[in-house]
């Protein structure tokens, strides 16, 4: 019996640790990336970590007989998290689209005037913006020559409306 308790507890601890790792990774991504969509992706990573923790807690506490009514609590919480994540994804992406239309860029630093007044402005350091040569690819064109004769029959053919 003690082995079972220990195993369940250890499993739950491992899930908590994985949830914490996912949360920390999402936090790092959210704080450091500048692309609005990638920032939102990191928020979703954080939500996944929390879902893992909730499911682990819910199952572990549902194993005790006196808390038998809480067997599903963790999972139902995660169902609502998925629902709310869908809602916020819809609205956030609509907002990002509008911001992109107004600014032409997905950069969050473009909107830094929305910060508090006493913050120093963030300016980009000089970074070379050349595309690395190995990713450039030029299409292969046929060599130039005299223009071919126009095909009058094909030009005068009108498709039926």
């Amino acid at each position: 019996m003690d082995d079972l308790v220990a195993k369940e507890l250890a499993l739950m601890h491992n899930y908590l640790i994985v949830g914490a790792i996912l949360f920390a990774i999402g936090l790092v991504g959210f704080l450091s990336r500048r692309n609005m969509i990638v920032m939102f992706l990191c928020v979703e990573i954080m939500l996944q970590g929390i879902s893992l923790s909730l499911v682990a807690w819910g199952r572990y506490h549902g194993l005790r007989k006196e808390w038998a009514e809480h067997v599903w609590s963790g999972q139902i919480f995660v169902i609502f998290i998925i629902t709310v994540a869908a809602c916020e994804a819809a609205i956030a992406l609509a907002l990002f689209l509008m911001l992109y239309r107004q600014s032409g860029t997905l950069d969050v630093a473009f909107w830094q005037k929305l910060r508090e007044d006493n913050q120093p402005a963030y300016e980009d350091k000089e970074v070379s913006d050349e595309i690395p040569p190995e990713t450039e690819s030029w299409p292969k064109l046929t060599p130039a020559g005299p223009e071919p004769e126009p095909d009058h029959e094909a030009l005068s053919h009108r498709p039926k409306i």
Binding site: A10, V28, R33, Q48, V55, R59, W72, A94, R101, A109
Partner: protein, 303 residues
């Protein structure tokens, strides 16, 4: 976990994350690999420091008396295989029974299934890749991989509906919406804001520190956890031995019953929230288009 291992884990993890993030000019061609190496080393340290707590062998504890329970632990300090000393306590029942010393081994450890470690590794590595790649489309696809691994983790915890819902709703709807918007904006990852991340050093170490803070409770307080074991085991009718319920055919019925009986109001509110979000998203886009093109239409009608 000793404090040295804990601090070096956090330091290595922060360093590894900082190396992997896109940093523009200071990026080298070996940054990602080195960062991944540091991250893996730190996670191995993390697991090692965390795992050995559970497997204390050659530990002088008796599986006591006729019930086969662990009643408590002996007062003198003992050491485990790793040279760490643990204080152990007798409880009242042992003292009443006249038990003064324990001999034997405690199998506090468990054998985690290979599936759990595989899924957890995929989830963590995919999430780390999702935050470090420059091309946002690659980030989204790595996040999809992380979602699949999370669905596997849900399955291990007997949450079948959540596993399928994660794949269908999260990976199948939300992620695809992400990709639609990315298609409209079409960033190729060559823009400046994709290649440079701001405050990479601070954010990496903040994340590592938060990870340490979240899991510190699992490292410290060793004795109290073992006491929780002994209290659990002396009242064993309250602990239901877990059965493997992954293939339970009544899972959906019970989950649905619980959802629509105990959480009915929350379900209805969630439905209303979904509708409000849908209308709101459409309103945002319509308003944006109206302010851009509405001017032209007004000129045409009036002019």
């Amino acid at each position: 976990m000793t404090s040295f291992v804990g601090i070096s884990t956090i330091f290595l993890l922060g360093l590894g994350l900082w190396l992997m993030l896109p940093r523009g000019k200071t990026d080298r061609f070996y940054s990602k690999l080195l960062g991944a190496l540091f991250g893996c080393i730190s996670l191995v340290l993390f697991a090692w420091g965390n795992g050995h707590r559970h497997q204390i062998e050659n530990y002088s504890v008796l599986r006591a008396t006729e019930h086969g329970h662990i009643h408590g632990l002996v007062e003198p300090k003992t050491t485990d295989n790793y040279g760490h000393s643990h204080t152990v306590y007798l409880d009242q029942e042992d003292k009443r029974n006249g038990v003064t010393e324990y001999v034997g081994t405690v199998h506090l450890g468990w054998d985690p299934g290979f599936v759990f470690y595989l899924m957890a590794a995929i989830a963590v590595i995919s999430a780390a890749a999702a935050i470090t790649f420059r091309n946002p489309v690659y980030c989204a696809i790595w996040f999809g991989m992380s979602l699949l691994a999370t669905a596997g983790l849900f399955l291990i915890q007997d949450a079948q509906f959540l596993a399928v819902a994660t794949v269908v709703v999260y990976a199948g709807a939300i992620l695809v919406t992400f990709l639609f918007v990315l298609m409209l904006a079409q960033p190729g990852g060559h823009a400046l804001y994709d290649r440079v991340s701001w405050e990479a050093l601070l954010s990496a170490f903040t994340g590592a520190a938060i990870l340490g803070a979240l899991s510190a409770n699992l490292f410290l307080g060793h004795e109290s956890r073992v006491d929780y074991f002994s209290q659990q085991s002396t009242q064993d009718e309250k602990f239901v031995p877990p059965k493997n319920k992954v293939l339970d055919e009544h899972h959906m019925a019970r989950l649905g019953g619980e959802l629509f009986s105990r959480h009915l109001i929350a379900v209805e509110v969630a439905g209303t929230l979904l509708m409000v979000a849908l209308v709101g998203a459409i309103a945002i886009v319509a308003q944006g288009r109206q302010s851009g093109a509405g001017g032209k239409q007004e000129d045409q009608t009036h002019g």
